[in-house]
């Protein structure tokens, strides 16, 4: 078993707004192992960015409430660390690529200088050496004429180039953990592949661990060792990429997989999960997905499902896995995937019953 480098336990975060309390993250629990890539996917607004911003403590200070939980890194709880200590970790040990590149780059400083500054801060190189290293990084993320480009300001770059500058900036200090929040959304497939390869390479070289947030399931298939699926502030399914893609158990995961278009989709209408996500100001009782779930059981409207164990690495929070639950037939696309899954695993995996040690998130 690989060593765990980061452990998030029962993380619960809300925001105070004029309209009331927004429960953005509710009991998120996961471990990150050394050298692994964990992908987080899920509905827009489900709390992916908030969960990972909490790790580096970069949520707005005024109205964020850390209600419960802890984030353990090297044995200490980051949520309790004094800001001064946190500064030694943020950006240096744990680096983050933000979803909104423009708001996290300094518009008044050339990008080369921004990267060099970060290098100097963390690596004790001379300014000229740092600048050289910065140009090298700009080259590595696939920006042409790196020397020239390093002298440009962020607004002179295209959307995808800015995203790549962010990536260079976060890699500048060779972090132990890289948190990448939708780092390749604005990138075309070629550059995307190049960036993914670069992250992979650094992962190998530095034994870096990566948390990768994306909605591009193609990217997930490419990079992830494990995948966590979020819905309305919770993780509802977690497993290896293969398990989540080919043996998904939660009806939300089914819906997500069924919505993926492929190069040969011709249908009149694309499938999309009916209904809207719940209002986080006023969470419903029971399973937050129940209202939109064609497979919902009576109990889903009353009680939150705990995690059920599917395999040693695969857990899903759905009552359908309870031994007493009626058997349901998943959508056709999912059945097709189950077949594929069986074909490369030979024997079908038996679903274990309720595992109390993991169930804390569902209390």
């Amino acid at each position: 078993m690989k060593e765990t480098i980061l452990s998030v336990k029962d993380l619960t975060i809300s925001f105070q707004t004029l309209d009331g309390k927004v429960c953005a993250v509710q009991g998120v629990t996961f471990d990150l192992k050394k050298g692994e890539t964990l992908a987080i996917v899920g509905e827009s607004g489900s709390g992916k960015s908030v969960s990972v911003k909490a790790i580096n403590r970069v949520l707005p200070q005024g109205n964020t409430l850390y209600e419960k939980g802890e984030i353990l890194y090297n044995g200490c709880n980051l949520l309790e660390l004094p800001e001064k200590e946190m500064q030694k970790i943020r950006g240096k040990k744990i680096a983050m690529i933000f979803q909104d590149p423009m708001t996290s780059l300094n518009p008044t400083m050339t990008v080369g200088k921004q990267i060099a500054e970060s290098i100097v801060k963390h690596q004790k190189l001379s300014e000229t050496e740092a600048m050289k290293e910065a140009v090298n990084l700009i080259d590595l993320v696939g920006i042409r004429n790196p020397e020239e480009s390093s002298k440009n300001y962020p607004h002179q770059f295209s959307g995808g180039m800015r995203q790549r500058v962010m990536i260079a900036l976060s890699l500048a200090c060779k972090p132990e953990i890289l948190i990448a929040d939708e780092p390749t959304t604005a990138l075309d497939v070629t550059i995307q592949a190049q960036i993914l390869d670069l992250i992979d390479e650094l992962k190998e070289k530095l034994n870096m661990s990566v948390i990768f947030i994306t909605h591009d399931l193609g990217v997930v298939a490419h990079v992830a060792d494990r995948v966590a699926v979020m819905y309305a502030g919770r993780i509802i399914e977690v497993g290896t990429a293969e398990e989540v893609f080919y043996y998904p158990q939660h009806p939300y995961t089914w819906g997500l997989i069924c919505s993926m278009p492929s190069l040969d989709t011709e249908d009149e209408n694309l499938y999309s999960i009916p209904g809207a996500p719940p209002n986080l100001l006023n969470m419903p009782k029971g399973d937050a997905f129940a209202q939109r779930n064609a497979y919902a059981l009576q109990i889903d409207f009353e009680e939150k499902p705990p995690f059920f164990k599917v395999s040693d690495s695969h857990y899903a929070a759905t009552w359908l896995l309870h031994p007493d639950a009626p058997k349901v037939i998943p959508p056709e696309e999912i059945l097709r995937r189950y077949k594929t899954f069986k074909s490369f695993n030979k024997k079908e995996k038996e679903v274990d019953v309720y595992d109390a040690s993991i169930a804390c998130a569902g209390e």
Partner: protein
């Protein structure tokens, strides 16, 4: 030297672009030819997909069409009118109502100090779509419903939304003035697949109901193929290939398009791990001084950027590709 594209019969051209060029920092050290002499038409009610690598000039093309960027040379004609000649306030306002853009960076395109209901409400008032407060509130609520944002979030500021929520607010703002022409610049990039599908279905519904025309800029080739009638492939400020969507995917001719298609990630885990990428040699579209290169119609409606000498080669390639298809 761009060939003049013949108008396809019976179809009304809403947007005509001829010899468009945009050079940033001309004559200076950091000169960038963001758009290098492009020409194309967009027909009424169609969706033209614009794809290409990062930095190829897609956003600049969109921004030039909607007059957010001054153009270096060339002509953009919208509904028969040269947009560079739109000067008086009334005309510009009318143009802005008719043509809207959904911006690539959802966070940066929304004013962080204004709550969402005011962002949309101000646009509704400016274009005289609503006049009373009650009307505005009702319309804002309807728009939030359409893009799947909870109505009770209307008082929030853009910074209080997630990435995908911001993007949908940008979409609501563009739709609120009921435009005829929408430039959608990576408008799905921050959305999860289910909400992507919801937004795409919405865009298609509007196209059916109101004959809206779209310039759909994106890098996700499967989505572009799904939504577009025709697709233009851009690289280094040039359009290298332009054809009907199916034709482009089934019979890509330019080596760049072929490479782009081969790089598209597959959602199938096992095929994805075996996928082979085909590399592209950028010198293919860089012709020596003196060679005349431009858009040539290789097959009806299928255009490729090449030199006159290469036309025959592409025609043969197209024929052999269709033989193989049979």
């Amino acid at each position: 030297m761009t060939q003049v594209l013949p108008a396809q019969e019976n179809r009304e051209v809403v947007l005509k672009i001829r010899g468009l060029k945009k050079v940033f920092n001309p004559g200076k050290k950091g000169e960038v030819r963001a758009i290098d002499n492009i020409s194309f038409d967009i027909y009424k009610g169609e969706t033209l997909g614009l794809v290409g690598e990062s930095g190829s000039g897609k956003s600049t093309t969109g921004r030039s069409i909607i007059k957010l960027e001054s153009i270096t040379s060339g002509e953009v004609t919208y509904k028969g009118q040269d947009i560079s000649k739109l000067n008086n306030k009334q005309e510009v306002l009318k143009f802005r109502k008719s043509m809207q853009m959904i911006f690539q960076d959802p966070f940066a395109s929304l004013n962080p100090r204004i709550p969402v209901k005011t962002i949309i409400g101000d646009a509704l008032r400016l274009h005289k779509i609503c006049s009373t407060d009650a009307e505005v509130t009702q319309r804002v609520n309807e728009l939030l419903d359409i893009v799947g944002i909870n109505r009770s979030y209307a008082n929030r500021y853009p910074t209080e939304f997630s990435g995908g929520q911001c993007q949908r607010i940008g979409i609501a703002r563009a739709l609120c003035v009921q435009p005829d022409f929408i430039i959608a610049d990576e408008c799905l990039s921050a959305l999860d697949v289910s909400i992507q599908a919801q937004i795409v279905n919405l865009l298609i519904k509007l196209r059916k109901e109101r004959a809206i025309t779209y310039l759909f800029i994106a890098h996700d080739l499967s989505m572009v193929k799904y939504i577009s009638d025709r697709i233009a492939v851009m690289k280094d400020g040039k359009i290298l290939e332009l054809a009907d969507a199916d034709e482009l995917y089934n019979r890509p001719l330019h080596p760049y398009t072929i490479s782009l298609l081969s790089a598209s990630p597959l959602t199938d885990l096992h095929k994805e791990k075996q996928r082979k990428r085909i590399d592209y040699d950028t010198s293919t579209h860089k012709y020596p001084e003196g060679t005349v290169a431009g858009m040539y119609e290789i097959l009806p409606g299928h255009w490729v950027y090449c030199s006159a000498a290469e036309v025959l080669k592409y025609q043969q390639q197209a024929l052999s590709a269709s033989d193989m298809g049979n």
